[in-house]
C-alpha cells in the first residue's frame, strides 16, 4: 500500500503559492537580496515594531529583535502590540505578530538591555544595524560603540519624532559613511509620542534599510 504525501499548505493553499503570492507586488528582482538580508533591530517600541512590520511584510529573510522590556498600556498609542499582549515581553509579543503577517521570515529574539559590553556579540551577524531606542544616551552609546567595533556595518538610527508637527520635517540624513539618521533632529519624547509621527520616522528608517539591502544608496 502506498502512502500519499500531501504537499504542505497554508490557509488551504500550497505553501509555494502563498510564498510567491505574498511577494507579487514587491519591486522587481528584489526577492533574492531581501531574503538573504539579516537586520538586527535594537529596541522594540514605537520605531522598532513599525520597522519590523515593514521589513517582515516585504520578506527580509532574517530579523533579530532586541528589547529588555514588557508591553505596557501606555505603549499601545504607537507600538504595534495588542491589548491582549500587555505584560508580555515585547520581543515575544512582536515575534507572534510578525509571524502572523509573514511566516516565511526567521525571527530571533533577545530579551536584554544593550550595553557597551554586549554590542559585539549582539550585532556580529547583522548585515544592517537598526537603532530604535527611546533613550538618547543609549542611541549615542550605540553609535559610539558600533563605529568602533563594526565600522563597516551600516547603522540606521532615529532621532526626533515627538509631538504634533509636520511630517515633512522628518528626513533621513547621511552624516558619515555607514550612518543614516532619520527624524526631525529636535522634538523630544516629553512632548508626547503618537503613532502617526512615530510611524513617519519608522518608515524613514525601514525605507533606508530597504534601499541599503537593494543597493540603492541615494537619499
Amino acid at each position: 500500500m502506498s502512502e500519499t504525501i500531501s504537499a504542505p499548505t497554508l490557509q488551504g493553499l500550497p505553501l509555494s503559492d502563498v510564498y510567491h503570492g505574498m511577494k507579487a507586488r514587491n519591486v522587481k528582482d528584489s526577492t533574492e537580496r531581501l531574503t538573504a538580508a539579516h537586520v538586527v533591530i535594537a529596541g522594540c517600541g514605537g520605531l522598532g515594531t513599525n520597522i519590523a512590520i515593514a521589513l517582515t511584510r516585504i520578506g527580509v529573510g532574517h530579523l533579530t529583535l532586541i528589547d529588555f522590556d514588557s508591553v505596557e498600556l501606555s505603549n499601545l498609542n504607537r507600538q504595534q502590540f495588542k491589548l491582549s499582549q500587555v505584560g508580555m515581553p515585547k520581543v515575544v509579543a512582536m515575534k507572534q505578530n510578525l509571524q502572523e503577517f509573514n511566516p516565511f521570515v526567521t525571527i530571533d529574539t533577545v530579551q536584554t538591555e544593550v550595553t557597551r559590553d554586549n554590542i559585539p556579540d549582539l550585532f556580529k551577524d547583522a548585515d544592517i544595524i537598526c537603532e530604535a531606542f527611546d533613550n538618547p544616551a543609549a542611541k549615542a552609546l550605540l553609535l559610539d560603540t558600533v563605529s568602533d567595533v563594526f565600522p563597516d556595518k551600516p547603522l540606521v538610527m532615529g532621532t526626533g519624532m515627538a509631538g504634533v508637527h509636520s511630517a515633512n520635517t522628518v528626513t533621513t540624513k547621511h552624516p558619515r559613511p555607514n550612518l543614516y539618521i532619520a527624524g526631525d533632529g529636535e522634538s523630544k519624547g516629553a512632548e508626547g509620542l503618537m503613532a502617526p509621527r512615530v510611524m513617519v520616522a519608522a518608515g524613514h528608517e525601514a525605507n533606508m534599510i530597504t534601499q541599503l539591502i537593494l543597493g540603492i544608496h541615494d537619499l
Partner: protein
C-alpha cells in the same frame, strides 16, 4: 579657529572635548563627537584636545522612539 558643525568658533582650540562640551552646556551623554571625520570614543573625551583648524561635528540625539 575650530569649525563646529560648519561654523567657525574662536577660543576653542586647546580645550579637551569634555571642557568644550561642558562650556556649551551640551548634554554629553547624548552626543557623539566627530573630529576631522573620526568618531572620538567617550573614554577619550577627557584627554583629547582640540587644535587649530580642527573640524568638529556634534551628532546629537533626542529622546523618543522606543
Amino acid at each position: 579657529m575650530v569649525i563646529v558643525n560648519g561654523t567657525e568658533e574662536q577660543q576653542v582650540a586647546g580645550q579637551t572635548i569634555t571642557a568644550f562640551l561642558t562650556a556649551r552646556e551640551a548634554p554629553i551623554d547624548n552626543i557623539v563627537v566627530e573630529l576631522n571625520g573620526e568618531i572620538i570614543h567617550r573614554p577619550q573625551f577627557d584627554d583629547k584636545q582640540l587644535t587649530e583648524n580642527d573640524r568638529v561635528e556634534l551628532i546629537s540625539f533626542v529622546g523618543g522612539g522606543r
